[in-house]
Point group: none
Chain length 274, copies 2
């Protein structure tokens, strides 16, 4: 399969030789990741564009590898225990998460609000850690949730500090829907977005109130690494009206303080960040 030279330039890498089956198999895993729950063989086959017989062979091997499990009644497939192991191992390598746990607990205890941490993963800010309050109320904050860019405090702070090329198309998609959350928040053009993000950058903190989740209010602050790039965000979450969103409020100050300390522990030079 000779590839045209022009195409090579477009493609990322010269593509050093590998094992085709590994790459041909990943769409199967991707399908299972994107689906919320277990999938039938035919569903996987159509999702990946494979013939059912072919998909079945990959699944059989993934099962033996532990990446997939099958409902013993011969039916639906789902992610297996080794997928979990892989994820836990991957999480353990992310410094922020190790360091942040204690700081989040402290902040939660100090303020009495739920505190959560998000990484950029899965094409968006993904909630990875939660420090809950004893309070029963609220808390639809769920592990693994991917938040919207323009209408969540997490999304907004990542969008404010990430390279625009990463977020461009996603912002566009959110703006495109005239009845979507972004439109409801008064955001229609990139100019609107830029204006908002400039405020967040100036404050080094983002706000979201009654947007992606009705009746919720949140503040989010960025965490930078030794390259001065945003690697995570930490948020204080509560119910609308019960959280003071002012820049001078105690929650805002303590959140900023915690985020700053975490960034410093990761080796960031905060005075060099725009």
């Amino acid at each position: 399969m000779a590839v045209d030279v022009n195409e090579v330039d477009i493609l990322e890498r010269p593509a050093s030789t590998g094992i085709q089956s590994i790459e041909n198999g990943t769409p199967v895993l991707r399908a299972l990741v994107q689906a919320k729950g277990p999938m039938s063989l035919t569903a996987i086959a159509t999702a990946t564009g494979m013939a059912p017989g072919k998909a079945h062979k990959y699944l059989a091997s993934y099962i033996r590898a532990g990446l997939v499990t099958q409902n013993e009644t011969g039916g639906r497939y789902d992610l297996g225990p080794f997928a979990l192991e892989l994820g836990v191992a991957a999480m353990r390598r992310i410094d922020v998460m190790e360091i942040a746990q204690a700081a989040m607990d402290e902040l939660r205890n100090l303020l009495g609000y739920t505190v959560s941490l998000a990484l950029w993963a899965n094409h968006g800010p993904t909630i990875m850690r939660i420090a809950e309050t004893p309070d029963i109320m609220s808390l639809t904050v769920r592990f693994g949730t991917v938040m919207p860019l323009l209408t969540s405090s997490f999304g907004r702070i990542f969008t404010a500090y990430l390279d625009r090329r990463i977020t461009q198309s996603m912002i566009q998609a959110e703006l495109a829907d005239p009845k979507g959350l972004a439109a409801q928040a008064g955001l229609r053009t990139f100019a609107d977005v830029d204006k908002l993000l400039a405020q967040f950058r100036a404050r080094r903190m983002s706000v979201a109130e009654n947007l992606s989740t009705p009746g919720r209010a949140a503040l989010a602050a960025p965490i930078f690494d030794h390259n001065n790039r945003i690697v995570a965000a930490i948020a204080v979450v509560s119910v609308q009206g019960r959280l003071d969103l002012d820049a001078d409020s105690r929650p805002a100050r303590e959140l900023a303080n915690t985020a700053r300390k975490l960034s410093q522990r990761l080796g960031a030079a905060l005075d060099q960040i725009p």
Copy 2:
């Protein structure tokens, strides 16, 4: 490669046909999972018993799949972003109550005692699942019951492993009543409580006998999640005198075993728990 019939009988499964490369590649991922950090190609090669050239091809494809990343300086390999995605997706599907059900039934059948599961909810350990014995006697164990912190096996194991700041005020309240259950159990000060909880932590199991329910005896063990936080507890419940509460007793061992297995299926790293 025709396989001898005798060998087939020894092997676990009829081994439906699959894709060899998928199964040949997983040791590479396993090596990266088991290593705490990045690995060199030769380290992976020796760990998997592969020739470096072979391992390199698998790694090249895993990189394109996103399961592995490589330090751009041409060097060490580590788990990639898709490994995280896979894990997050797997974690989102795992529900303690769901996987606990089968384990509880098994334990009940093994021991012949009632087994129950509690989550922290409603400001306390709340009984959410029960696997009953056919025996008529006993069993005032009712769904939704919120157990006391200091005088139930469930409460004690949660109190032993939850952040003290969550339980502080509730412990205080239970200690305050001079005629309350805590007082009857000989608990008057925080020092008393701490001494007791330290024993439970050392054993990774709690005991309650003739306390919140007269004539009942119970053992409870903690279940941890991928953050190594207690998310549930599982208990063996019976009538005083009919349940051996010793650390070496069969019920204690089997309960510990079940709890450990459940924690592992939730992604906990048990060796890192105090």
